[in-house]
């Protein structure tokens, strides 16, 4: 290398990071046939980059604008959730589940509650289950609206995103009526719900479904037929069926590549076998297919919500089990026993019998799982979470190999990486 090293110190340090060596031992690989090897540029895309959804980082070696080599890094939002699950009571941990996939907090709440209920052998009442199903599908619609919307924003179509955003805000208002919170809901309790749905809520949800259907059609007609959109998304960020299986992809991203698997249909929990819905599957596994699968899934979710709203009947929302039933405020404020019960519940928590349980549910992004090992007592012995984004994010590097920077942005947006779920 004829050039003095000092002039290129920055490059050496960056390569040292990539190769994991001290910077004075780094040798920059040179292909003797390639005169333009020095033309390579290493850029940090993230962790603070407008296209990075959350604090993610990709280090890419660019040839012009083509990504020749890259690696992805995550962990910037790591909060040791799984360890926290071993230090908090089962009840305390509910709020942490909100912060996994914060776009669909309700699904996390429900799945976690189901895992603990499975461990304790609790059956929740019918009304509770129907409301939980409405919640899950609301959260799925919100999540998908964000995913396709942000994907479009990354490709320059801003208005499309805001059409969906309006409906999303309305959905959050519906959720606010349930639990007072919009984003971090913490709505479920082990064996029940924080509050029953207010009167007339189902009707409001059904009205919202009607309006949202129209908006989805509008969004569909705005973007799906657009030629620039086709050029930007078809054949871009392809992750085919085999790769999806290798990388253990799930959810809409896998269905876009032809893997016909939806846990709501294949391993029905709650009352999913009593509602009718289709599972959209596409074949190519590119950005366009992921977009269309998600758009169609929004429609199917809206159908499910409408059916659930018809089927939900008045009734109790709490399982009558002394261990997990949070005493009513009436009882807490007026009786000694109630107060003690309340105090013991929140300070010590309830005992869960020894055993282990793994519950999966089709979350908006894919298979969300909670694996809990209990040795008795009010805290989990081990808590593990399967966040679908982890698996999807691993696929980003092979997916972007040899593509343009702009395609990387499109691909990342289409697999909907949520940093909260990825880093936990």
């Amino acid at each position: 290398m004829s050039e003095p090293r000092s002039n290129r110190a920055g490059l050496f340090e960056e390569v040292a990071v990539i190769q994991g060596k001290p910077s004075d031992q780094v040798s920059i690989h040179r292909d003797p046939d390639d005169l333009w090897d020095d033309a390579r540029v290493i850029v940090n895309i993230g962790p603070t980059h407008p296209a990075m959804h959350g604090a993610l980082r990709m280090v890419a070696k660019l040839n012009g604008e083509t990504i020749e080599k890259s690696y992805c890094e995550f962990g910037y939002t790591h909060r040791a959730k799984e360890k926290l699950g071993e230090n908090r009571t089962y009840h305390n941990f509910i709020v942490y589940t909100d912060r996994l996939n914060y776009c669909s907090a309700l699904i996390n709440n429900v799945t976690y509650a189901m895992a603990v209920e499975k461990l304790m052998g609790i059956e929740v009442p019918t009304r509770c289950t129907w409301i939980r199903m409405v919640c899950c599908e609301l959260a799925r619609v919100i999540d998908h609206l964000i995913c396709v919307g942000i994907n479009a924003v990354d490709l320059g179509a801003f208005s499309f995103f805001l059409y969906g955003f309006h409906q999303r805000e309305e959905a959050y208002t519906l959720i606010e009526k349930l639990c007072g919170a919009r984003l971090t809901t913490s709505y479920t309790r082990i064996g029940g719900l924080m509050h029953d749905a207010p009167e007339g809520w189902e009707k409001e949800v059904k009205d919202w479904v009607k309006r949202t259907r129209k908006v989805i059609d509008e969004m569909d007609s705005l973007l799906t037929g657009n030629r620039i959109w086709h050029q930007r998304t078809k054949g871009v960020g392809v992750f085919n069926r085999e790769q999806c299986l290798q990388y253990s992809w799930s959810g809409p991203n896998a269905r876009a590549a032809g893997i016909d698997r939806d846990l709501r249909r294949d391993q029905p929990v709650m009352f999913y076998k009593d509602v009718e819905f289709d599972v959209p599957v596409a074949q190519n596994g590119d950005v366009f297919d992921r977009y269309s699968v998600r758009l169609e899934e929004i429609r199917q979710s809206l159908n499910i919500i409408a059916q659930c709203c018809d089927k939900v009947k008045p009734g109790p929302v709490w399982a009558e089990d002394k261990r997990i039933r949070i005493p009513d405020k009436e009882v807490v404020h007026n009786t000694m026993e109630g107060l003690i019960h309340h105090f013991k519940f929140f300070m010590t928590g309830f005992d869960v019998p020894a055993g282990e349980a793994y519950t999966t549910f089709e979350a908006a992004n894919g298979e969300l799982g909670f694996y809990i090992v209990s040795k008795g007592g009010p805290r989990a012995h081990r808590m593990r979470i399967r966040g679908p984004s982890v698996w999807h994010f691993q696929g980003l590097t092979p997916m972007c190999q040899g593509s343009k920077v702009a395609d990387m942005v499109a691909a990342l947006g289409s697999i909907n990486i949520i940093a909260g779920e990825l880093d936990r």
Partner: protein, 360 residues
């Protein structure tokens, strides 16, 4: 020039001042239009707090831009870094000088042209000066010493050079039809009638004789002004903000102004070359007859028509920006070289053939 009297000088300076003032208002007005327009398309309200309909929002923005701290980052090449915004703004201002807003007015023995300079090479002057704008962007990208800025400025230079080619070739058709490069002559020539369909007279506007040329010119204009779907030099989701990534406060505002002024010039060109320029809009000549106005009123009406056309194209820019997604860099190049360039050559050939056949 020696024959210029004091009055001539006064008129010239007056025109310069008026043109500059108009241009200076473009950025604030367009910032408002863009915000309210995008809000209109996106079911939002947009800025509505300051002044009626939020009209004074731009004023506040201007104040904010001026009073913001204006640091020069340590890693930049300070000289070119400061120079770059000016280099992109000045050509943007200069190009508008030759676009006429009204027909020449005969006042006594004096002819007043409604543009700063009635150059006989008007169109060539515009292309020559407009090309200089790209230097500002390249300078900004290079001087910023930032990889994303560099990518942005590289994209920009490729894009501008590629699309300038088809832009230049697309107006060759217009030059053939009207046999002039003087913009006033071109605008005047568009006053003739192309077709008489009963009571409706279709004027010989550039659009009617050169529809393909207009399409190419319009697309290239979007690329030249770095607007969506061709806003790759900025491409905020890919290369953050491209060439103006390291710029803040008024320096950034100057880049933004340059973009809007370029849009204004492009709109002015589209109006002048393809939509009759200052030729009256339908119904206006009847209005002129009805109020029995003189030459002065006529000039005012012509200016109104011209600016109405320009305003439409400005709105068109905004409209497209909030509707379409962005191209990818290589697709943009493909479009420029494999579609637009052959089409503009075809347009020249077709125009020649039609002129030979005496159709136009």
């Amino acid at each position: 020039m020696s024959s210029m009297t004091l009055l001539d000088w006064a008129i010239l300076v007056g025109k310069c001042v008026i043109t500059t003032l108009i241009m200076l208002q473009i950025a604030p007005i367009m910032a408002w239009v863009e915000r309210r327009g995008s809000a209109l398309m996106q079911n939002r309200l947009g800025p509505n707090r300051i002044g009626p309909f939020g009209l004074l929002q731009s004023l506040c923005d201007g104040v904010k831009f001026i009073f913001k701290e204006d640091p020069v980052p340590g890693h930049v090449n300070a000289f070119y870094y400061v120079l770059a915004p000016l280099v992109s703004l000045v050509p943007a201002f200069m190009t508008f000088a030759v676009i006429p807003w009204a027909a020449p007015l005969e006042l006594g023995d004096r002819t007043i042209t409604f543009q700063v300079a009635n150059l006989n090479v008007g169109l060539l002057y515009i292309f020559a000066i407009a090309s200089l704008g790209v230097y500002g962007i390249i300078m900004a990208g290079w001087a910023s010493n930032n990889k994303y800025s560099l990518l942005g400025s590289l994209r920009s230079s490729c894009q501008m050079i590629s699309y300038e080619l088809s832009m230049g070739l697309s107006v060759v058709g217009i030059l053939m039809v009207f046999s002039s490069v003087n913009l006033t002559d071109i605008a005047l020539a568009q006053g003739q009638t192309l077709l008489q369909l009963g009571p409706v007279a279709i004027p010989k506007w550039g659009f009617f004789v050169q529809p393909l040329g207009f399409l190419i010119f319009c697309t290239a204009a979007f690329a030249e002004t770095n607007r969506l779907p061709f806003d790759l030099p900025e491409g905020e989701s890919e290369i953050v903000a491209g060439y103006h990534l390291e710029y803040g406060s008024m320096k950034f505002a100057v880049f933004m102004m340059a973009e809007y002024v370029n849009m204004f010039t492009a709109s002015g060109l589209m109006a002048t070359l393809y939509f009759g320029g200052f030729q009256l809009l339908p119904g206006m000549s009847q209005l002129h007859e009805a109020i029995g106005g003189g030459a002065g009123i006529m000039a005012a009406l012509q200016a109104a028509s011209f600016f109405a056309k320009v305003a439409f194209f400005m709105w068109f820019f905004v409209w497209v920006r909030w509707t379409l997604p962005r191209f990818r860099y290589d697709q943009l190049m493909d479009l420029g070289w494999k579609v637009m360039l052959p089409l503009s050559l075809l347009n020249i050939f077709l125009t020649g053939a039609l002129m030979y056949a005496k159709v136009i």
